[in-house]
């Protein structure tokens, strides 16, 4: 079983925690998420133009780039994380341009070498899979795709084709961290996705409170939280790890009780 499969085989829904690389003390922040009980770590690769992100993650991207974070730094964070946490799955999330800059094979191999399990690229839809997908699959990294409220049943098979690890359901049409979807609409959408695939379905966008996470965990295989963590890093800086661990633990507790 792969690390990602393991994470989604637990008796409770997996908790997927996102932070932006290079924002705050990244190594300590990542460790805090693991300590708090996160099942999967999503590490955001900063980009100058994060078009799909709301104000919280935009600001984190700019803070990170303002400190001079490079692609090499992001890969180094991943590599050191893998050394410290051999069993916790790590997924890189970001935008196409930094990922393909040196060629998709370079990126896929470098990510593999750093112990990365999956890659979420926001702006490469299945129609443009050639830009990165084959390189990831050849390197043994899961290309994790996004499904959204606008992805209809006819289109869904195309989204699933060539993807693995898990399917990330974006529960609202919008950017990260702002609106939240009604619980009823999520339940219905997750049921439709699960009928179409055996890949685990994780739900994210707009999840900030443990109660929301619990409501989603009752139906989905995983819950993703990003902006709430990124806000904590922005607010508390070097003191963020304790806050991150606290929120993670609260989320995980709520999910386990769901």
């Amino acid at each position: 079983m792969t690390r990602l499969q393991n994470a989604f085989s637990k008796p409770h829904a997996a908790f997927v925690a996102f932070i932006t690389a290079g924002d705050g003390d990244t190594a300590a922040n990542l460790d805090a998420l693991v300590e708090g009980g996160a099942d999967v770590i999503e590490l955001g690769m900063p980009f100058t133009d994060p078009m799909a992100d709301g104000p919280a993650i935009q600001a984190a991207n700019l803070r990170s780039l303002g400190k001079g974070t490079t692609t090499a730094d992001v890969l180094q964070y991943a590599y050191e994380f893998r050394e410290r946490h051999p069993d916790v799955p790590l997924v890189l999330m970001g935008y196409a341009n930094p990922m393909i800059r040196r060629g998709p094979e370079w990126f896929a191999n470098a990510a593999k070498g750093a112990g990365v399990d999956g890659v979420i690229c926001v702006d490469i839809p299945p129609e443009e899979d050639d830009a990165l997908g084959p390189a990831l699959r050849d390197a043994g990294i899961s290309p994790i795709r996004l499904a959204t409220p606008t992805t209809d049943a006819k289109r869904l098979p195309q989204v699933l084709e060539g993807s693995s690890g898990f399917l990330y359901y974006v529960s609202v049409a919008g950017v990260t961290g702002l609106q939240q979807a009604a619980a009823g609409s999520i339940e219905e959408a997750v049921a439709a996705l699960k009928a179409a695939t055996d890949i685990p379905v994780a739900v994210g966008f707009g999840v900030r409170e443990p109660a929301q996470a619990a409501a989603i965990a009752a139906h989905a295989d995983g819950v993703v939280v990003g902006s709430a963590f990124v806000d904590l890093v922005g607010e508390h800086g070097a003191k963020a790890p304790a806050k991150l661990q606290e929120l993670t633990a609260a989320m995980v507790e709520a999910i386990k009780a769901a």
């Binding site: 980009f47 100058t48 709301g54 341009n97 800059r101 702006d123 289109r155 974006v170 049409a173 950017v175």
Partner: protein, 412 residues
């Protein structure tokens, strides 16, 4: 042309929206179904004579087309003063600055709002740099009675205040964008964020031949009225095709509009003029083709100003309309095929071109085509007297007089 040249330069993009290696649909999944809808609707509109008839009618009676093709004889004579005997090409202008709203941008906005109407969309958003596209979008929204939100970089709001007021007069809401450096790139990011959150009722009128497929194709097609008219007018007036076409390039829609109908006329050379800002050797320019490299941004693969990690550079130009770190993907392809030549002109050179046209022809050009004018003044003396340069005078300079005054040290 080299051996690998295609049979036609006018049959791009392919059915996936690719111009060779460029273009495509690099968007978030939320937008993908909408982009596919737009493509379907555009194909249907292309087949619908009523759509074309309404487009043509509005261009004629609302925009004021066809725009004149003007033989700039005084400028021609002025440029011959520096030329050797028998040299100094005739300079002609395609006068799209005489369009309603003062630039070529309105051609595209008319086409896109008709598409929005066909698709039943009830809200329009747009991004703008210099404000010309914002004004054109606000104009068609007023004409069709649709609410309009224009995203504009905060820095551009400051340096283009007359256009901001125009948009407000026309009933548009102007949202100043403070993310990034507050220019066109950042305005486009925020427009995309709005769109992704309002896909159900909102149509995004993109202002240049860039973005995800089918935008580069449809914007080009709507702008091709420029080149189609110029081709017919030139044949009627001069009895021959022009020898050289020149146009400025930010995203590149006015240049494509002029060039595209001539692409298969092998004897017609073409020159696209990028903004060299303070010079190509530094980072303060917007010459994506001459100083950038291929990458993915705003839905398409094209030449970008970027660092070694793929982070997008801010770029710089005196001209807000050219202040964008990317370029339409068809230009990237035309560069790689060698069909179109590209050059760049600095701020200072463009200011000279601006003043030259004011003095010789009594026309105040926008700073964007002032870049093209400078290229004209460099090329004309190197061409024979019987040769013809046709330049797209794509915008008028009313909006820029404050910027120019400041640069020239004049207090207003």
């Amino acid at each position: 042309m080299n051996e690998t040249s295609p049979n036609s330069f006018r049959n791009q993009p392919d059915d996936r929206g690719h111009f060779g290696d460029f273009g495509g649909r690099y968007v978030a999944e939320t937008l993908m179904p909408l982009i596919l809808d737009l493509e379907r609707e555009y194909r249907a509109a292309q087949e619908d004579p009523a759509f074309q008839a309404e487009f043509d009618d509005l261009l004629e009676h609302y925009v004021g087309r066809p725009s004149p093709l003007y033989h700039a004889e005084r400028l021609t004579e002025e440029l011959r003063k520096d030329a050797k005997p028998g040299m100094g090409a005739q300079v002609w202008f395609k006068r799209d600055e005489l369009n309603h709203t003062g630039a070529h941008k309105i051609n595209n906005c008319i086409g896109q709002i008709l598409l929005a109407k066909r698709m039943g969309k009830t809200r329009i958003i747009a991004e703008t740099g210099a404000g010309q596209h914002g004004v054109a979008t606000a104009t068609v929204c007023a004409r069709f009675g649709l609410p309009c939100v224009v995203y504009m970089g905060a820095e551009d709001v400051a340096r283009q205040s007359p256009n901001v007021f125009r948009m407000k007069l026309l009933g548009a809401e102007v949202v100043p964008v403070t993310s990034g450096r507050g220019t066109l790139k950042d305005a486009m990011n925020d427009a995309l964020r709005d769109w992704v959150a309002n896909v159900h009722d909102t149509f995004y009128i993109i202002g240049t031949a860039a973005g995800p497929h089918p935008y580069p194709e449809l914007v080009r097609d709507f702008q091709c009225v420029i080149g189609k008219e110029a081709r017919a007018q030139m044949l009627a007036r001069a009895g021959k095709l022009p020898d050289l076409l020149i146009a400025c390039i930010g995203g590149g829609s006015n240049a494509l509009g002029l060039f595209h109908p001539f692409l298969d006329d092998a004897d017609v050379r073409m020159l696209g003029v990028e903004a060299a800002g303070k010079g190509l050797e530094g980072s303060e320019h917007n010459a994506s083709l001459l100083g950038g490299s291929p990458g993915i941004l705003h839905g398409n693969k094209t030449y970008l100003l970027q660092d070694e990690d793929g982070q997008i550079s801010e770029g710089y130009s005196i001209s807000a309309g050219l202040d964008y770190p990317g370029i339409g993907p068809e230009h990237a392809w035309l560069k790689e095929t060698g069909r179109v030549e590209y050059t760049a002109v600095t701020d200072d050179e463009a200011l000279e071109g601006f003043q030259l046209l004011c003095r010789t022809e009594g026309i105040i050009p926008a700073l964007e085509p002032s870049h093209a004018l400078t290229a004209v003044s460099k090329r004309a003396p190197m061409m024979r007297e019987d040769e013809i340069i046709c330049m797209n005078l794509c915008g008028r300079g009313d909006k820029d007089i404050f910027t120019v005054a400041e640069k020239l040290g004049v207090e207003m």
